[in-house]
Symmetry: C2
Subunit: 231 residues, 2 copies
Amino acid sequence: MKRVKVSNNVIRRMPRYLRKLDELTEAGITRISSFDLGHQLGLTPSQIRQDFSCFGEFGQQGYGYNVAALREQVAAILGMDRGFHAVLIGVGNIGRALMENFCFSEWGFHLLCAFDIKPELIGTELSGVPIRDMAEMERFLSDNAVDVAVLAVPKEAARRVTERLTACGIGAIWNFTNVELTDPNSNILVENIHFSDSLLSLSYFISERKDEEAIRAAKAEKLAEADKQDQ
Amino acid sequence: MKRVKVSNNVIRRMPRYLRKLDELTEAGITRISSFDLGHQLGLTPSQIRQDFSCFGEFGQQGYGYNVAALREQVAAILGMDRGFHAVLIGVGNIGRALMENFCFSEWGFHLLCAFDIKPELIGTELSGVPIRDMAEMERFLSDNAVDVAVLAVPKEAARRVTERLTACGIGAIWNFTNVELTDPNSNILVENIHFSDSLLSLSYFISERKDEEAIRAAKAEKLAEADKQDQ
């Protein structure tokens, strides 16, 4: 694929386009204008056109986008057709939720196996995925081409396991541990799911809204006060 | 608090600062320069100074930042001292993982209760949080001041439950359902946790890296070929 340097914001919008296009497909909609697509996503039509222009010309003047074709192109942009291999490290609540509810294959990933240290889990399967002994991780990673490790171990174990993964030459970590793994000297790709970051951003927006409401209320009160004095 | 319009990127970095400052505190570090803080976060010192300047003057020339004071200020910026109230809707794998592993109070939130439709769950507690009948949700929300609903219901139920929450006048939703809830006409704040968006962004970055490696390898091969022909 043609690779130009695309801004992080554009990349982060691609999965949203994909979800929307899947929704449209489900609803039986086969083509859509950039205006309607933008309206449904809270984006301007020109932003939509600009985003896609980073990767080629997908729409057609006066026709809009063919939903199925655009969906396929977005999926290819995101690498969903590459069949990346993943392993999961840590079968606690989060690991279990991922294995039971998150459909890796829907996004083009093969979840090869999971690793844990709990004897009662080792040798069992969950949703058809075998759970192996953490002690075998290094061997498994050297015997198999694994593109991404899904890190769902307890916080305390995050750094030690990351060191082991780095030593194995793993290229990417999908990090659920809420521990900042970024080492400026490391070449590893880390994508974080920080629940708390997300909640705290929401907390910021709620606070902002409450402050704005308080300011409006205070102004209204002042105005009413001034009106009273004028009378 | 003084409110200026702050860019989304700055807001999204605030929780990362908080995590880093907590790490520093744990490591016994009481002050840090913007240079070192930036180095540890993969940001430039001037970006760090700019980010904080949106909210006031926190550092001191030649001294750097007092870790404890900065931590307190970031927490206040994020609204962690406001004691927001939350309810959880849906006690499946994700809901359970949140109740058992995610410490809402650590981030300033009180999780008042959870709602579900499964008779065997209703009336029980998980991590000290009562699970109530989904049918009681409207009454509970009208009797209690709730700032945010954590939405962890199955995909199919996402929109219907959101309509019910909107009708109750809820101000914010923390959305784990992987369904796009944004309605351009709604005033509700929605913060999404889309596991697939995150994985697909990672998928993009892995693809990009593989393509770059392939291009480099092809170039090296061509060069070697040319060298051979020259000889």
